[in-house]
Assembly symmetry: C2
């Protein structure tokens, strides 16, 4: 007897494709789903298909959206600032900061030569054409503070400098609410380096 019967095994394989889901977690999801009502399972399957068909990319900023333009790009009252981020998740996080009223541009990844991702695989051409057309005053580079995010920020900074637009980067430092004891040395160094007068 195999560990699991075939249809269950297939379901586990599917769940195991989700990010961060190993075989054990996938089995847990699959066995739970088996106990759902027929209607619940059908809704789950249908939602997957309908989400896929209804969600597209904004033709201006490349963010996830319904239709061809996202709500931020449709909103003409937004400040002439573009915040450049790696993915749609970053947009959601920044939108929760109610104070930010600028626009976004989703790169769709970061430079990663090891994985064959160069500038052409990112939405950089679209960003340049927006900077030509939209009278933007500032570009905030908000890629993640990882090695690849940093490299991408550096690349964009060099690319945008000749355009004469103000280019900024998110501040580094200790996260609010954190304990200094647990901050790593690099973060603390950046926090000291970026200290501000009170």
């Amino acid at each position: 007897m195999a560990d699991y019967i075939l249809p269950l095994e297939q379901l586990i394989e599917q769940f195991a494709r989700l990010p961060g889901v190993g075989r054990k977690t996938a089995s847990r999801y699959a066995l739970s789903l088996i106990d759902w009502s027929d209607e619940s399972a059908r809704t789950f399957a249908e939602t997957i298909l309908s989400a896929r068909s209804r969600i597209g990319r904004c033709k201006i900023c490349n963010n996830l959206c319904e239709g061809d333009t996202c709500a931020v790009c449709k909103d003409t009252s937004r400040d002439p600032i573009i915040c450049v981020v790696e993915d749609a998740r970053a947009v959601m996080s920044l939108e929760r900061v109610r104070d930010y009223r600028g626009r976004y541009h989703v790169l769709g990844g970061v430079l990663s030569p090891m994985n064959g991702i160069g500038p052409d695989q990112l939405e950089i051409a679209g960003l340049l054409s927006r900077l030509n057309n939209e009278a933007i005053e500032e570009v905030i580079i908000a890629t993640n503070p990882t090695v690849e995010g940093e490299a991408t920020a550096l690349y964009l900074q060099k690319l945008l400098r000749p355009l004469g637009i103000k280019v900024t980067r998110l501040a580094y430092g200790v996260p609010v609410g954190a304990d200094l004891e647990y901050a790593d040395a690099v973060t603390l160094f950046r926090a000291l380096d970026g200290r501000r007068e009170l």
Copy 2:
């Protein structure tokens, strides 16, 4: 602007129904699924539906199976021992112990008066009728070592004693490979209590 666009929000809600999945993990799954190819997403949705329709319960032991009888119950070479477990997951775990060649009976839960689960909600009648028909020599009660699992074991023990069949319970003790330092007092007490001569 809401945190997420509607179809994405709906997908997140669906993922959040899986056990142990909060909103943040559900968003991660949903956003990853949006990036899958159309074919992958369709396979995922179809596997959910097909698993649901193909997987049923064994009419003998109540384990998950394709068709109406599971592979263990079909196997006539199995020892006349029944291991009573809470759910199908426990069967999978025990099947990995190659030494066990007995049969199973899946209760489909544990006694839990707080949640309205009494003996009638569990597959106990089926177990009793098997004990009448199958010439079983031993019943191993292998419900989980939780309060409810213990209560269920006690209930079954009392119920089965009049039948004159040997009823046993899985041994308690320190898990193999664990460090005594991290074992809780109750487990250590049980390990001492069940000590064996070498």
